[in-house]
């Protein structure tokens, strides 16, 4: 095919000019509206009668500087804990999801166990699980009881594993039955159909919600501080207690947000790509 030089008609030129004017107008309007709302917010907050005291006890640069190293050190524990827990929770979730799709009477107890697990741990507040694990298990005085950090991490894995299992299971169920029929018609066993046809599609489809739960998990790693180990939040808490100033909490909060940004970015990217792929198929 050869591309011909196309003379744009008068009408089309008019349309292009109109669209350009509209685009410029939109940008100006957005800028103006942002400026107005921003000013109002700043005036409202800084003009509040208690602003000076709040600034002093929440946004104190000296206090921030003083405790930043300790908080960063604590954050390193959060990061390590998050990576290990996220991987473990994903594996646990996948195992439970597969367990819940197993057929046959032999597997009934396993299926039942899987169901009870996902139902109870999705309902149980994470804080309670952490308390039960970190304080309950050492209370048994068994030989070789792991440290509270490990126990707290286990609480996190078990709680999030239940959510991830359900996300993956919904992915498994979203694969159309005709896919299984096609696989079985080729002579694949149920297990082979699951492994080669259903699971790959299910995991791909559930990637956005899985990542989203992982983002939630990243900040919930901070709850481990309740069990005692000195993570970022614990370090901030120590700062708050010794200086009677809340700035360390704000510092820890900002650090958690910064830490989450890359993963949130990845989640958005994957979600967008999944949506685009779905539209391309239609």
């Amino acid at each position: 095919m050869t591309t011909q030089l196309h003379e744009v008609s008068e009408t089309q030129r008019g349309r292009i000019a109109y669209r350009r004017r509209q685009a410029i107008r939109s940008v100006l309007l957005a800028a103006l509206s942002t400026a107005v709302i921003g000013t109002v917010l700043v005036v409202l907050v800084t003009g509040a009668p208690g602003w000076d005291r709040v600034k002093q006890s929440f946004f104190n640069p000296e206090v921030a500087r003083e405790y930043l190293p300790a908080i960063l050190e604590g954050l390193w524990l959060n990061v390590r804990l998050f990576v290990v827990c996220a991987i473990c929770a994903l594996i646990l979730g996948l195992l439970i999801a597969i367990l819940r799709t197993l057929r046959g009477p032999v597997f009934f107890p396993l299926r039942a166990l899987g169901t009870i697990y996902t139902y109870s741990f999705r309902g149980l507040p994470l804080i309670i699980v952490i308390y039960l694990f970190a304080f309950g298990i050492p209370g048994l005085r068994l030989q070789g009881t792991p440290s509270v950090t490990v126990l707290g991490g286990a609480a996190l894995v078990i709680t999030y594993g239940a959510y991830l299992a359900e996300v993956i299971r919904s992915g498994i169920e979203s694969v159309h039955p005709s896919q299984v029929a096609a696989a079985r018609s080729l002579g694949l066993s149920y297990r082979q159909a699951m492994r080669h046809v259903v699971l790959p599609q299910a995991v791909r489809r559930s990637a956005p919600p899985l990542l989203n739960d992982t983002v939630a998990m990243q900040k919930d790693v901070g709850l481990i501080s309740l069990a005692g180990p000195i993570d970022a939040i614990r370090a901030a808490q120590i700062g708050v207690a010794s200086d009677a100033n809340f700035t360390p909490y704000v510092v820890a909060g900002v650090l958690f947000v910064l830490l989450a940004l890359p993963l949130i970015g990845v989640t958005d990217f994957v979600t967008l790509r999944a949506a685009r792929r779905q539209n391309a198929g239609a």
């Binding site: 005709s178 896919q179 029929a181 096609a182 696989a183 079985r184 018609s185 080729l186 002579g187 694949l188 066993s189 082979q192 080669h196 046809v197 790959p200 599609q201 791909r204 391309a280 198929g281």
Partner: protein, 246 residues
């Protein structure tokens, strides 16, 4: 007989879809199933492939009762190819992987050998350049040809085709029908449910008209489509002619 169905009954709740259906298919024979929607064509094919369990009667493949609950359905399905109306290719695999999945995983054949065979088939059906493509990049006609190849590489005794052209744009129907005609030339035993009466006439050795879950009338295409004996067959064909499909 490659396939013989005897008094097959299949119900879905209160609906009796197959009501004592009897049908035999001989070696190298091509049988076209025609009949209105809901007459049981697709259900019969699914029952033969053991994707649906029958409620009574017997289905035999090469004389062996495949509806015996003690039989291993996976082993039976390995001998019967089924091609679906909506292709049902695996969207996360390339064309090549779609085709080689069963030979490699089920029949445990070496990957290189399975790939070579797949390439040969793709070349034969004019899709040599699509081996690495994903199904969503293919037209409906191309997808359906891949689906047929996917069933054929298992060297089935019997190929079941379930309205394989119904989801296709009219200009893509031809390429799929040509392929089926070639398979008949190879001597493949086939049962095809179809709405393409012209094609049934060309390719089938026998046409069976299904009505209310039974084979109401069967015989050579010219007889069943040209001079049907049963009033209901005439009615059905009259409606088809009205719709401009004969």
């Amino acid at each position: 007989m490659v396939l013989s169905c005897e008094d097959v009954r299949k119900t879905f709740g209160p609906n009796v879809v197959l009501d004592g259906l009897t049908l035999d298919v001989g070696e190298h024979e091509v049988v076209a199933l025609i009949g209105a929607s809901g007459s049981g064509k697709s259900t019969l094919l699914r029952c033969v492939n053991l994707l649906a369990e029958i409620d009574d009667g017997t289905i035999r493949l090469d004389g062996e009762d495949i509806t015996d609950p003690r039989i291993n359905p996976d082993a039976v399905r390995q001998k019967i190819g089924l091609v679906f109306q909506s292709y049902n290719l695996f969207p996360h695999m390339t064309v090549l992987d779609n085709i080689t999945l069963a030979p490699v995983r089920v029949h445990k054949r070496p990957v290189a050998e399975a790939r070579e065979q797949a390439h040969e088939w793709l070349k034969r059906v004019g899709l040599a350049d699509k081996a690495g493509a994903y199904p969503d990049r293919l037209s409906g006609g191309q997808q359906q040809r891949v689906a047929i190849v996917r069933a054929l590489v298992n060297n089935p005794r019997l190929l079941l085709l379930d309205e394989v052209t119904s989801a296709l744009d009219p200009e893509l129907v031809g390429e799929v029908l040509t392929m089926i005609r070639d398979l008949k030339g190879d001597g493949m035993t086939m049962v095809l449910a179809t709405h393409e009466m012209g094609f049934a006439r060309q390719v089938a050795d026998r046409v069976a008209f299904l009505d209310k879950g039974k084979v109401l009338e069967q015989g050579p295409p010219d007889q069943v489509l040209g001079e049907p004996v049963e009033a209901r067959t005439r009615q059905f064909l009259a409606r088809i002619i009205e719709a401009g499909r004969l």
